[in-house]
């Protein structure tokens, strides 16, 4: 019976990991990462490792997604400020010619 539970948990963890990777928007990814942390902690409990599960819950479900959301907020603001700067420098509001050239060349 416990074998089935462990097998199911491993499959669910692998599926959740795939979902985390396939979520492109980093803000949404933080929420999915929190769910993945919980799945991983459950798998660790099924593998008879309560100490590790405790660390995983504390760290992977609470701390890391919080830091990810805060980092995303700061990055978005920095990118927006820089785009406004670049538009101001070129002289025309909302000018994104510089960005297009960069993208073409890469």
């Amino acid at each position: 019976m416990t074998d089935w539970i462990l097998g199911l948990l491993v499959l669910l963890t692998a599926a959740t990991a795939t979902v985390v990777v396939l979520t492109r928007d980093p803000a949404r990814q933080a929420a999915v990462l929190s769910a993945y942390g919980l799945m991983l902690a459950l798998t660790m409990v099924a593998l008879a490792a309560p100490d590790v599960a405790l660390s995983q819950i504390g760290v992977g479900t609470a701390a890391v997604p919080l830091i990810v959301i805060l980092a995303v907020a700061r990055c978005e603001r920095a990118v927006r400020a820089s785009q406004a700067d670049r538009a101001g420098r070129v002289g025309r509001p909302g000018d994104s010619a510089g960005d297009d050239q960069e993208r073409e060349r890469s």
Binding site: A27, R28, P50, D51, L54, S55, G58, V59, A62, A63, L66, I67, I69, L70, A71, A73, R74, E76, R77, S106
Partner: protein
């Protein structure tokens, strides 16, 4: 072509890794049936030092030196993060008045936070102190303590977090924790045996003051891990929430950049 290059290289690397990995996994003993000789010896050593929690005994007693290294890696990462997120000279030159972000929180959230904060701190302290008796220890308890302080931010605002855990106090706590671990090791040297030897009295099985140096090391690590995580999150909060106020605008672009309220 240039855009595809990382994908192609990645695919080739992944295939190579998969081939080698499958061969390696096929050579591994199947999980679940193989006897673990090192485990038997580790359990015997844990019993010899009256530590019911064999994992904590291995972490802090038998492989204590490795944990010293890991602890200092954590310290370095926390210091690095704090340094990277400090306000640089260019940002200080902007010199506009700053806002700390939204402060109006639902009363219910405030109440729940006020009730849960002492409970979380208590549970964190319990997990740290009873690490050698039940699942727990410095690392786990430290993260629970840190989570309690995140509640202070979520239920109130950034200023409350700052008042509960002033950066100066947190810095000192982190340093004291790291130094404490290294210092306890020297107690072993002074006592006449090896560095980090478990020479304090081992006490009675299953009591709080047992297992020698293990509870002391747990407290040191709990202090350091908790302080490090609160510091790091506080720095990120400061970065995400310090919103430059536009001229003539009272709140700046508050709604656009609120840390959690964005989604």
């Amino acid at each position: 072509m240039r855009r595809r290059l990382p994908l192609v290289l990645g695919a080739v690397g992944a295939v190579a890794l998969a081939v080698v990995g499958v061969r390696a996994f096929l050579g591994l003993p199947g999980a679940g049936e193989v006897p673990h000789p090192y485990a038997a010896r580790a359990v015997a050593a844990a019993y010899a030092h009256t530590t019911p929690n064999a994992v904590v005994s291995v972490t802090l007693d038998q492989r204590g030196f490795d944990t010293l290294g890991e602890e200092f890696v954590l310290l370095a990462a926390a210091i690095g993060t704090v340094l990277l997120l400090r306000r640089l000279a260019e940002e200080a030159h902007e010199d506009r008045p700053h806002d700390y972000g939204p402060e109006d929180v639902f009363e219910a959230v405030r109440l729940v936070g006020a009730l849960l904060l002492p409970a979380a701190l208590l549970v964190g302290g319990y997990v740290v102190l009873h690490g050698h008796l039940s699942p727990g220890g410095g690392f786990q308890g430290g993260t629970v303590l840190a989570s309690g302080l995140y509640l202070a931010y979520l239920a109130a605002d950034y200023r409350t977090l700052e008042r509960l855990g002033p950066p100066g106090v947190l810095d000192t706590a982190e340093g004291v924790g790291a130094l404490g671990y290294a210092a306890v090791g020297f107690a072993g040297l002074i006592g006449g045996s090896a560095y980090l030897a478990n020479d304090l009295p081992h006490g009675v099985w299953n009591s709080l003051l047992s297992a020698g140096t293990v509870p002391v090391l747990n407290v040191a690590i709990g202090l350091e891990v908790g302080a490090a995580f609160v510091l790091v999150v506080a720095k990120f909060l400061e970065q995400a929430l310090l919103v430059p106020r536009e001229d003539g605008d009272d709140g700046g672009d508050r709604d656009a950049t609120a840390g959690e309220g964005e989604h």
